[in-house]
Symmetry: C3
Subunit: 157 residues, 3 copies
């Protein structure tokens, strides 16, 4: 599991990730990533079959920032609110300063009239690095068990 203080910092990073999306603080959410990060949303089906198809893919923090700007301009993202429930975080250890991390999530969306539905369940498979003691996502791979969802592309998961 590695060093305890790094473990705690990694868990806090994943919790921040979820809460910043839920609170629609996407500009702050971008700051959880490295400059040269990878962010992908995949379906479990495609991962297991070895297909390269990605539901969403960004290869830098700049691309993530652009996407947030697009979401703000489209102004459609806020027709629902998100709520992530993050399961136990598994820290598999570090290799040359890069930590491998995994956690399950469930994601609910509520409409403006306050009714809630399950939107997706899946697993995060992340790489985390420390920059001056601060944890950042070098890689965030979202693997959805639930992929029969039309609106999946609009916002981060």
């Amino acid at each position: 599991m590695g060093d305890r203080s790094e473990y705690d910092a990694i868990v806090a990073l994943l919790a921040d990730y979820a809460h910043l999306i839920d609170e629609d603080r996407l500009e702050e959410w971008v700051e959880l990533f490295c400059d040269d990060c990878t962010y992908k949303i995949l379906s479990r089906e495609n991962v297991e079959a070895g297909y390269p198809l990605e539901l969403m893919s960004c290869n830098s923090k700049g691309m993530l920032r652009d996407r947030v700007v697009s979401l703000r301009e489209a102004n459609l993202y806020n027709l629902h609110t998100d709520k992530h429930i993050l399961g136990a975080v598994r820290v598999h250890g570090a290799d040359d300063g890069v930590w491998s991390v995994q956690a399950n999530f469930s994601l609910y969306q509520s409409t403006l009239d306050g009714s809630t539905d399950l939107f997706a369940v899946g697993t995060y498979r992340d790489k985390v690095v420390f920059d001056n003691g601060r944890p950042l996502f070098a890689e965030k791979i979202v693997i959805n068990d639930t992929f029969a969802v039309a609106r999946m592309l609009s916002t981060p998961i």
Copy 2:
């Protein structure tokens, strides 16, 4: 994140809170609060709009205790069982001995014939203090994303 042992104690407090409701041990649940606590259930809609409307509000441990007595007398509370899934707990730090804490939850209710439905998702925004080393809720604010729920007022969330 503050001191590790205090962090652990705060996480345990939130876990106890959820399990004592789930196990219908509400008399013990009351003992997790300070004498002069605040307990409120709000909807996210009202919080964001700045409305003061509260779905439930208690301003002291005595009021919470009275509510539990009422629930016992009404004898309606046990027509379902609750199950809380507590997400990652964020401890934002302490200010003058008062810890600010946040965590998401999902809450399921099962009927007596064993069918389960999502009841609510939301966020706890809590203030925790330590009394002789024991953590207690000075403030527990439950903010529901799901507020289109008629039976919401009957039991704590």
Copy 3:
């Protein structure tokens, strides 16, 4: 709560348990148990009524291994994928080297076409021992709030 490093190891054990089922790595999952373990799936209704009826019961690691072999031969288990969300883990302390542990879970199942439904919610009540520093389940009791589920017997929960 006991010693921190043991607490961390117990939380990691419960997380491993959930992820190994979700990833269909049941042969590795069996290795999380002691040789003379107890594994039971019960319904909350029966626990509260004191009924001995068990939805599933294994009294040794050998029985668990046999069950996994049966599942592989039946080849029906993989018509869905599981996703466990593990709530906060409560470690109640150790008695003569045996740790009492409790955690809530929600379990979702996704079909091959990527639609997801809640399958069950419940509570784990576990006994954990350490063998040469490695945590193992001496007892794993799964208590389901959701018991009106026909397919419940096929795979571990």
